[in-house]
């Protein structure tokens, strides 16, 4: 349902008049209106954090990170492409490249904004952009096992005391949202390792397919030893519904 009219605000994006619900983040307002803005640390299921700075746009002539910019008042005037913006994004890409010089997405952006890694920033190529997506995903999943620790150049994603995090459930939420694949894990049929921790993998009691680690099943309120895989759960649920008396085949005559 659309918002009541008094909670809408209107302004222009690239000269075109748009109306959006009050407090809509500028990034979302632009995308909803068909205007593309590049992002790396943004994830639709996670709260914005403004870490990658790629979504910089001009609001009333000033640069702002669009993912964190709520549209509050009428009369906003947004420009998403300009020389100033391209220059700022080129610099951002240059800095991000110093962490992940081989990332495909970054290389495409580097070609787009005509920039290249700065040799003076060499030596930190661990592939991690410090975008914090993994940290936010871990929080959303309910664990808070990792955080961005330290500051400046030595800032990195790690568990408390730089140790394998006690509260990591091995669910891979962090690895799945990483934009550069920098969150590493290993997985065999029966085991998984991530953040220096080893996990066993629980099989589905019906089909034997891997369901997840006992820790992540327990966190989700499922039986850590014998949770059904999604497919078997669907089948079991369908069977239970069919067995209900009202679903019994109607009697003839």
């Amino acid at each position: 349902m659309s918002a009541p009219i008094e909670t809408m605000v209107s302004g222009t994006i690239n000269g075109r008049t748009v109306a959006v619900a009050k407090d809509t983040p500028l990034l979302q307002a632009a995308r909803d209106n068909g205007v593309g803005i590049p992002t790396l640390c943004h994830h639709p299921a996670l709260p914005p954090d403004g870490n990658c700075r790629l979504c910089l746009v001009e609001v009333g002539g000033k640069l702002a990170a669009s993912c964190l910019y709520p549209l509050r008042e009428d009369g906003f005037s947004v420009v998403t492409e300009s020389g100033k913006i391209a220059g700022a994004r080129a610099f951002v890409v240059k800095l991000l490249l110093s962490r992940a010089p081989e990332d495909e997405c970054l290389l495409r952006l580097a070609a787009l904004y005509q920039t290249a890694p700065d040799p003076r920033l060499a030596g930190d190529e661990d592939g991690c952009l410090r975008c914090g997506r993994c940290v936010r995903a871990c929080h959303a999943a309910g664990s808070d096992a990792v955080a961005l620790v330290g500051r400046g150049r030595s800032r990195k994603v790690a568990g408390a005391f730089l140790e394998p995090p006690a509260d990591c459930a091995g669910c891979l939420a962090c690895a799945r949202v990483c934009p550069t694949g920098a969150v590493k894990f290993r997985e065999t049929k029966n085991s998984r390792s991530i953040w220096g921790k080893e996990f066993s993998l629980a099989p589905c009691p019906v089909c034997g397919r891997t369901v997840g680690t006992p820790e992540e099943l327990a966190r989700a309120g499922l039986d850590p030893g014998g949770a059904l895989c999604p497919e078997c759960r669907r089948r079991a649920m369908a069977g239970a519904l069919l067995a209900l008396p009202e679903n019994a085949a109607p009697k003839r005559g």
Binding site: D144, A145, A147, G159, D167
Partner: protein, 172 residues
Amino acid sequence: MSRLIHFCHFLVNSDYFVGNIRAMSQFDFQTLEDLLAGTPTEPRHLLPFLQRTQEKFRHLPREALLAAAAHFSLPASRVFAVASFYKAFSLVPKGERLIAVCQGTACHLRGGPQVAASLEKRLGLKIGQTSADGRYGLESVNCLGACALAPVATVDGAVRGHLTPGRAAELL
């Protein structure tokens, strides 16, 4: 007191305790408990608590960070992120006598680096290190706003000015 017992229970059950029993038995839990006693449990009181802990213990002991996580209901990773972010906090014990030599512009011009070098030589330490016996810690600082007294250093926070490499010995 019940919180302390509860916390000890938590420590005993954590992996960390195993193999660290000796170190744990020496840890001053009473001081930690006193520091936490008057602290409200809203997360915004974490920083003041860490500042008081740093002052008392001369670093942020692991026990204090774990206790803070429990006290403020914050994840240990978040508490560690805060503790590792600020330069005012240290995760390893700082020296009993903390000497910070200013390397700001005015002090630099008036011989700050020579004062620092003299102290490094006398203490057998590099800037940023703590002596093996824990008595002295040597640090640099970027400006204390006391440029008229350049070159300056602080000894446990007290400013000493107009230093020379020779007079640096007086700080010890």
